[in-house]
Assembly symmetry: C2
Homo-oligomer: 358 residues x 2
């Protein structure tokens, strides 16, 4: 097992990464100070891992809430289902929430923990590659609004993150590839060596070699923890983690949530960011092609599947959380492995990039 | 104008108290760093003060959302109305929310600010006595759940609080009395001198003498700010501010929100806390009668208007946020002007107190 510490002062917490971690109850119980534990999971994950996690918690009062699976359910209404479950069993401010599932479960459980009785503890047990390398680490929690993704939420840190890569055994290939999109992102935005590593090991990763997966998850979490520790509330550097996300969110928002998996939308979004970076003269067309090649190699989309109206796409981009007073800020690449935040790009280059993809 | 500072390190903020403050635009504008301002108010307050506040903000992009009035609308659904309004005008993370209204508006606007794009700034302009002396100060924000009051929310501090006591000119007598319940609370829980002052000045306060009102609001905010500065997240001392509230919330919850105003329920709740304190031998029956006399003198209820089932009442008390692992903690009075938190009372004394009132 590898342990990473996300350094946030009093809010610091460990991230445990390895195989068979769902057999080690102290990874959870060492972080639970009260007696009441609510496991939040979904209809897909519950049959696979709920019983296993419950056996680790035999000394606590354990309740569970099983939500429908999917980004479409990442709403205030579903959040209220969690509150109702907590209140029906009269759980109080000393209770602990455990998020058992992918990013949607993690984001909603985290926001529920942030908001239930103005804040209770929670633990992340991410069971998808995407959530293991991204959403479970760093404390971004929340739900979607009909008019925008992740528009409602909070920065709220878990007590620990338990990443058992064996849970990926039950993850289908499409979901696995979607997770690799965020892994590749860390290489593109700040770690050229890691990107080279991924390019070299891509066949092994696609064959799901456990050693390679642990290494990729560890390096991704390491890079993310490093950035989050410097800028928890996204006042500056943390926004780099949104490479591909302003484009990607606009794709998800205009196509409708669920047409693309989040990682798939981010794949196209990263390629759009790369193409705009090339139009702006920062990287070469050949480097864009290398990005495109790697994304294709891990079975990620590099085009938008349906026609989207340009104005709709721009409108969706302008509500992105990185916008300031209406201006769209984008994460671009100065070179491969070095991203930066820009509001200084040529508008016609942005327009050309978008139109090339629509 | 009197200015109080609530000392919370980086989150510190001023509380301005006086007459005609809604004519002084810099009290607001000095605290607004972006360009977009959303005023959140309700159908009762909007015709009275919305235009006035908007004239102060002529240099900003101003939008408004006018909610239905009443505790019954303090819900996640209404909160979503605020998010929709913000997203429809594409307000971003640099936007400012202004709560213009009573406690319900303040609590919801604060929670909306805490949660919109994971946190934007907000300002409190409380227009009821209750919100001026209680909910606008200290950063408790949130909404109710069908199964419990204020069960969903966050600790989130405003940038400033602007208390123009002239807004009380449009407050009806019932609402004014409800506000005095919280004023009296500060005397009972920690300031015997202030309680004596209120007993001496009660006729002037009921005649709405502006000088007395400013003094009473200032002292209430002073006492609250002092406690909040010591314990922002209610890990200890802050719970003293809930004197009468565990009983009061159970009254509101079992009767149904809206039967009693919050301050009215707290009036009965404080009297219940006083009676239990007497049964426990801390204060005398005569002192209980003095509390009862003062509450009656300001036209507050001292009994519960409808029959409530004992088991229902106990169940409502046990979901109170001060409960820990299911145990009900209560704020009792060691003596008049000195409250403390107890889980060490005789169960039969609690039972007798409740049954005396049901």
């Amino acid at each position: 097992m590898k342990t990473l510490n996300l350094d946030l002062g009093e809010k610091s917490y460990p991230i445990y990464i390895g195989q068979n971690l769902l057999n080690q109850k102290e990874l959870l119980t060492n972080h639970i100070s009260g007696k009441q534990v609510m496991i939040v999971t979904n209809t897909t994950v519950a049959p696979l891992y709920l019983a296993k996690v419950k056996t680790l918690l035999s000394s606590f009062t354990v309740a569970e809430v099983i939500l429908p699976d999917g980004e479409a359910y990442k709403t205030l209404d579903t959040l209220n289902t969690i509150f109702t479950a907590l209140l029906e069993v009269r759980f109080d401010r000393s209770s602990m929430l455990i998020a058992l599932g992918g990013g949607v479960i993690g984001d909603m459980t985290g926001f529920a923990a942030a908001s239930y009785q103005r804040g209770v503890d929670f633990i992340q047990i991410p069971t998808t590659l995407l959530s293991q390398v991204d959403s479970s680490v760093g404390g971004k929690t929340g739900v979607n609004h009909a008019l925008g993704k992740n528009m409602i939420g909070s920065f709220y840190q878990p007590k620990c993150v338990v990443i058992d890569v064996n849970t990926l055994d039950t993850l289908d290939n499409q979901q696995y590839s979607a997770g690799l999109a965020e892994v590749i992102k860390y290489g593109l935005l700040g770690n050229a060596d890691f990107l080279t590593y991924l390019q070299n090991k891509v066949d092994g990763l696609m064959a799901r070699d456990k050693g390679l997966i642990i290494e990729a998850v560890y390096q991704s979490c390491f890079d993310k923890a490093d950035i989050v520790a410097q800028d928890e509330l996204e006042a500056g550097k943390r926004a780099l983690l949104n490479l591909g996300h302003t484009f990607g969110h606009a794709i998800e928002n205009t196509l409708g949530y669920g047409v693309y998996l989040h990682g798939e939308a981010i794949s196209v979004g990263m390629l759009m960011a790369a193409k705009l970076s090339a139009l702006e003269g920062f990287i070469t067309d050949k480097e864009v092609q290398q990005v495109e090649y790697l994304l294709q190699k891990v079975n990620l989309p590099i085009t938008i599947s349906s026609k989207i109206d340009y104005q709709d796409f721009m409108a969706a981009m302008s509500v992105d959380k990185k916008a300031i007073d209406g201006e769209i800020r984008l994460v671009l690449m100065k070179k491969i492995g070095q991203a930066f935040i820009s509001n200084d790009y040529q508008q016609h280059n942005l327009e050309q990039t978008i139109k090339d993809f629509l």
